[in-house]
Structures are given as C-alpha cells and as structure tokens.
Symmetry: C3
Subunit: 157 residues, 3 copies
C-alpha cells in the first residue's frame, strides 16, 4: 500500500469535512459518510470507560441529514462562526477494508460581536472505507476533552 | 498534474509565510508575493456580502514593503509574539495558471508578561501563481471571524 | 533526496510524539529520542538571547525516562487533558546526518470540570537523526511564547 498517497487522500477528506462545517455548507456534510455510518460526539471520560452516553449520536446517514434539516429549520440559536483546526492526522492501521484514523482537533467559535474563544478540543477516532472509489467515514467519534461546553453545542464537531 | 506534489509545494509556501511572521523576519514576507499582488485582511461579514471594507489592504508588493517599513520605523505598539496555526490547506481548483487555495488559520498572541490568547481566526482565500519556478501569492485574503480585535492588529495575519 | 517522502516521515514522527502525550502513553515517549538526546522547554526570551535557563532540561534518554517515572509515581498535580496542535512543520536543512526541523505548536489544556484554555504556544526547534532506520529526536527545543504558565507545567510540551 502506498502510505503517503493514502494519507494525502485521508487529509483531503478531513479538509472537505471541515470546509462543510466552517463554510456553512452543512447540506454537503452527510455525503462524506457511508449510509450505515455511526457519528458520535462523546466526552473523553465516557469514551475511556466505555460508557455510551454521548452529546450527539447519529446511527445512519439519514440521521445526519435529519440533523442538518433540524439545524436549518427548527433549531433556535445565536449566529456563530466556527473554525476547525485539525492536526496530527495519523493512520493507525487496517481491519480488512476499514482504515482506522486518529486526529486532533480544536474548534474555535465566534459569536457575532464577540471575541473568538476555544469552544471544544479533542480527538477524532475514525473508521474510513472506500465507497465508489471515494474515502468516506463509516464511523466518526469526536472524543472531546472538557465536559464544560460554553453555550450550546449546536453544529457537528 | 501531480496533485500530492503540488499540495506539498503549497504547504511549503504556507510554512515559509508563517515563519516570516512568527520569527519576526518581516523583511522576507513581501518576497512571497507577486509584484502586482492583492493582500487584504477583511471581516467575514464584509467578505460574504461582497462589501469592500478591509482592515488592511495592499495592492502591490511595494505596498507590502511599505507596511513592513512602517512597522519597523514609525509604528508604536507593545511587543508581542505571534504564533500561527494553519490547517486544512486545500487546493480548490485552477483558473488557467492561477491555483485557488483555501486554508484555516488561528493566530495566538502573547503580549510580553501576559498569558497567550486567541487573537484572530479565519480562513485564507488565496490565489497562487508560479513565478520563476516558485509558487507565490497573487492574491491573499485573510477573512477573519470576529469583528472584535483584541488590542490592535499590528502585524499581517 | 526525496523531499516529500522525508517530510511525510517527519510528520509521522510528530504525530507519534503528540499521541504519546495526548493519549497519556508517556512511557512510549522517550523511545522517540536518541540515547544521547537533549530535550529543553525554554522561554522565547532566553532562547533568543542565548541564555541557558529552561523550565525543563533533560540531557539523555535516561533523564526522559526518569521524568516519566516521577510523573507516574511521585508528582502531585490535578488531573488534566492535553491537546497538541502542530502546524507548519518545515525541514530547514541538513548538517551531515542531522535534519533540522521547525514547527509551530499549541497546547490546549483542560482541567477536570473546567473549560479548555490555551496552555502554551511556541515552536519546536529540533534536530532529527535516523537510528535503526527510524527518525528520532536528537535534540528537541520547545521554545515557548509566554513566560506566564497557567497553573504548572507538569507534562512535557
């Protein structure tokens, strides 16, 4: 396997993921997942102890689309800008067709008229598969460091 | 076109850019631009609505050099250390010889004797061209997230 | 020399380094250094002026192992989660077998039950060599921006 080429492709997927969120193109976000995906935003303590409780849990691409729909139509929240930094992207190994990837992230948030602050940091613990030649998320766990969420967690991480 | 090789080269340009700013080698900063460049530091709101008002606007390499000269000789400001993090560098496409690149950035600032804080976050929306074999910025827009600038924006972003 | 391949390898080393620290696998951290290594956490002011005083100074792999041992057995400190972001990794050149690398870093820290904050930012000024086919740190200087360290600097940077 051509390792540098694969990491390049993985990094492209993460860049596309972040761009959907930061450029407010949420409608394009579910397309980066497989149909039967798992998406979870879970505190570090629960993840480390194998406890299931998560802040966000979506068990299919349909649920991701529902979430976007809810954000666009029904949710009420203050306008904000998100800025993701993703670093230390690392291919951890393979289980058959599944590529395991880990990365660090920080989300910096700006509420309109306020200063930018650190909103959420943590690591992505992900499983990627190839679908129609394209890498996609089969599983994406956002394991976050602080149980203190400033304001509310509206958008995906 | 060899995509991984090009992204490698693009990343080198961004690393050189950041090093000029963070290692206080401002004199080397204009050389990363073409002669007829455009450099703009503009709030997200204005950028999204097509409004022209920007915090910094330089319309040629000469204006960038002037700015450095002003910073070195005439401006008065408290000493500070900058630290740029650039992430999600993404080649968006080509218009002829022009390569369109987008990236996320965060600038962390440290005033002497104070704690480090988030100074500015946003995205670079850039146009790169090759000049004498070297990639350079033909256009660099720093689209920042918060209209609240803590202290003053002295150095380029 | 194949530059993209080398930078790929360098980035893998940095990702492994960060993973040891952020995933609390400190025991694996010294293995990333050569036996006769130098590890220093030093304020920017002192580094720039050539002053020797550092917050952490380890002059061999044995001293790194001692430090881990002390952290695990004797030190007393509040539980915390670290999150490193490393950016702008840049190969600066070679001195014989030694590869000089510079990178920017930010460490975001979360004390249990508190919000995440910027703990420390700075640059890595490193010397890498190949040992048994593997890139390792022969020298790693963590040159940090702020003399104000919030709380205490417990873990390596």
């Amino acid at each position: 396997m051509d390792f540098p080429a694969l990491r390049f492709e993985v990094e492209e997927l993460y860049a596309a993921y972040v761009e959907c969120l930061d450029d407010d193109q949420l409608e394009r976000w579910p397309a980066l997942f497989t149909a039967d995906c798992l998406y979870k935003v879970i505190p570090r303590e629960n993840y480390d102890r194998g406890l299931p409780l998560a802040l966000i849990l979506c068990e299919s691409k349909g649920m991701l689309q529902d979430r976007v729909e809810a954000l666009r139509r029904t949710s009420v929240y203050a306008p904000r800008a998100l800025r993701h930094l993703v670093s230390n992207i690392r291919i951890k190994g393979h289980d058959g067709d599944v590529i395991r990837v880990q990365a660090n992230y920080a989300v910096l948030q700006t509420l309109t008229g306020e200063a930018t602050h650190v909103f959420n940091t943590g690591k992505y613990v992900d499983q990627l598969v190839r679908e129609d030649g394209q890498l996609k998320f089969k599983e994406k766990l956002c394991v976050f460091d602080s149980v203190v969420v400033p304001g509310s967690l509206v958008y995906p991480i």
